[in-house]
């Protein structure tokens, strides 16, 4: 094995890391329970007296996890405020964003042997921004449907407006369902990309979500997006 020198970059605050893993668990649970709610499995109980109210349970799990997921955004926001590395936006407004995106895309299409080093490459940044949009749609449609169980409440009033924008409550259900599939497709791609980056390119994509640190060979092009970049830890 040849020896490689790596530099250490502090990217993710603990708040973001904890949020990330809450999000992972929430999405898995929400997706599974959601699919069951849309297409319930027939109960095996044929005798009402002894049946378990499992649909009720599944719905409750779905709602509770949705609230936990929503609440965990507090961590995300706090990390965003205190740590520069939690603010890896896609720089849509800069020309270099598009040049770098093309470069990365060419590499993923096997037309280039490698792409320049990044703390987070622009393609990934754009896809994560996209994920937040999908999650926002899920929150908006989901809570609108939830709160309309009592249209009299303040939240019910706001929700009525959201349902109108969706074009009816059934439509809100469909949007909620379709976007959920979108998130799962994202997750497949995301999982592959981070594993590939970690184990093939040595870009510590997976480990950074545990430790907060990335260890990179080259100086990343977006190194200024992280607070503490350390020449000090040379490995």
């Amino acid at each position: 094995m040849k020896e490689v020198k790596r530099k250490e970059f502090y990217v993710f605050s603990p708040f973001l890391r904890v949020f990330h893993w809450i999000m992972v668990v929430s999405i898995v649970v929400l997706f599974c329970t959601g699919v069951i709610i849309a297409t319930p499995l027939q109960s095996v109980n044929l005798e009402p007296t002894y049946s378990v109210t499992y649909m009720d349970l599944v719905r409750d799990i779905h709602f509770v996890v949705a609230f936990i997921f929503a609440a965990s955004f507090i961590l995300r926001v706090y990390g965003f405020v205190i740590n520069k590395g939690d603010r890896l936006f896609p720089h849509f407004w800069k020309g270099y964003f598009y040049r770098q995106t093309i470069e990365v895309a060419l590499h993923y299409m096997f037309l280039k042997y490698e792409h320049s080093s990044f703390l987070r490459n622009p393609l990934a940044r754009a896809s994560y921004a996209m994920l937040y949009v999908l999650v926002a749609v899920e929150f908006i449609t989901g809570f609108a449907m939830y709160f309309l169980a009592n249209p009299d409440s303040i939240w019910g009033g706001i929700s009525a407006w959201i349902i109108m924008v969706c074009g009816g409550e059934m439509m809100a259900h469909l949007i909620h369902h379709y976007v959920a599939w979108g998130i799962i497709l994202f997750a497949i791609g995301h999982l592959y990309m981070v594993i590939r980056a970690e184990f093939m390119e040595g870009e510590s994509e997976v480990s950074a979500m545990f430790s907060g640190y990335k260890f990179l060979i080259h100086n990343p092009k977006d190194a200024t997006d992280s607070d503490l970049s350390g020449e000090k830890h040379l490995i």
Partner: protein, 366 residues
């Protein structure tokens, strides 16, 4: 025009006792969905307020709402029409017709400007200046505009008047739409349903007539006391839903046993109406009770609600199946794609390292 009587004056004239009158007022509280705490208000209004004039016009529709209305059991529609409101003009129920009838409409509107209640059934037609729906030689939309401008309040009866109804279904050749946009500044109560429940229809008109104000409305302009619950949350089959006991088709054992109709596309979970608690025709039944899944007839766009079939929960795309099937297939394809990409990446990495090794080899030998 002669002075119009109040409900109490009418009772006096007919020799109805005070006791019966008060009992009637208590009954009215229940019908209008207001608390009996407000009995005093109801009595006061019934003593003092002259019976309100109601003008009832019909646009693009099937008159099913009227059919529903005349089946109201409490109050009996005949009581309501004959003694509790002053129904001056109704396309369907009036015996008169022709020019004198239209002249009467004009006279009524002029004499009661700002004081009459306008009940509207049916959608307006907006395409080609509204020529696809004519009434008394004028377009319905012009009649509606004129009548709404002089009304104290407008009641939009039925999903047609509230949201456009069946004739607004794609491709909507006549440009039918709800009446809201034609009512100017006059307040509108939406009473959707195809048709609305009879007692809801009479309850709403009684509320406006007695109090001279609209009942409390929700975000979509529907009276909260009747549209404040999902059918799913008041459905007597809900325990079967919670226990996941579903009918899979209309002729299986589950359907026979009266299990939940969710899998047959029941729209109860998306629909706000009183079918579950008031039910229909003196509490006799309602669609789900008679074994048919709810189609959400009180919802805007229930005719094109995105699913394309009343008996499905998710739209089907031909042979591809529904979103879950497609999603699973695309997901599986993504996994295969990812695996292929991974394999190709390994190959590419191998090549890259070979080139790098060759280059560094060259450097060293130099």
């Amino acid at each position: 025009m002669e002075k119009r009587e109040s409900l109490w004056e009418k009772c006096l004239r007919k020799g109805i006792s005070r006791r019966t009158f008060i009992k009637g007022c208590t009954g009215l509280c229940a019908l209008m969905g207001v608390s009996v705490d407000r009995l005093a208000e109801v009595v006061e209004a019934a003593e003092a307020k002259p019976l309100p004039v109601v003008i009832w016009i019909h646009g693009h529709e099937c008159t099913g709402c009227d059919e529903s209305f005349i089946r109201s059991a409490a109050p009996l529609a005949s009581d309501l029409v004959l003694s509790q409101i002053d129904l001056e003009y109704d396309h369907l129920l009036s015996a008169a017709c022709g020019e004198p009838f239209e002249a009467h409409l004009k006279a009524t509107m002029a004499a009661n400007k700002g004081n009459y209640i306008l009940a509207v059934e049916g959608a307006t037609c907006t395409k080609d200046n509204g020529v696809y729906c004519m009434s008394g030689g004028h377009t319905f939309s012009s009649l509606l505009k004129e009548a709404a401008a002089g009304a104290m309040a407008v009641i939009a009866y039925g999903t047609c008047a509230a949201y456009g109804g069946i004739q607004a279904a794609k491709p909507n050749p006549t440009g039918s739409s709800g009446i809201g946009a034609f009512c100017g500044a006059t307040p509108v109560v939406n009473v959707p349903g195809c048709p609305p429940i009879p007692e809801v229809m009479t309850g709403v008109v009684m509320h406006v007539a007695l109090f001279g104000s609209l009942p409390p409305l929700d975000g979509e302009g529907r009276p909260k006391q009747f549209y404040g619950n999902r059918i799913h949350d008041t459905c007597y089959r809900r325990p079967f839903f919670d226990a996941a006991m579903f009918a899979d088709s209309y002729d299986d054992a589950g359907a026979k046993a009266g299990w939940c109709l969710y899998k047959l596309g029941c729209r109860g979970p998306e629909t706000y109406n009183s079918c579950g608690n008031i039910r229909w025709f003196e509490g006799l039944s309602y669609p789900i009770q008679s074994g048919a899944a709810c189609i959400g007839c009180a919802n805007a766009n229930f005719w094109d609600d995105g699913v394309g079939s009343f008996s499905e929960r998710l739209p089907k795309y031909g042979k591809l199946g529904n979103a879950d099937k497609i999603g699973t297939a695309v997901g599986a394809a993504a996994v295969v794609g990812v695996a292929a990409h991974a394999a190709a990446s390994v190959v590419q990495k191998g090549k890259r390292e070979a080139i790098e090794a060759a280059e560094s080899g060259k450097k060293e030998s130099r």
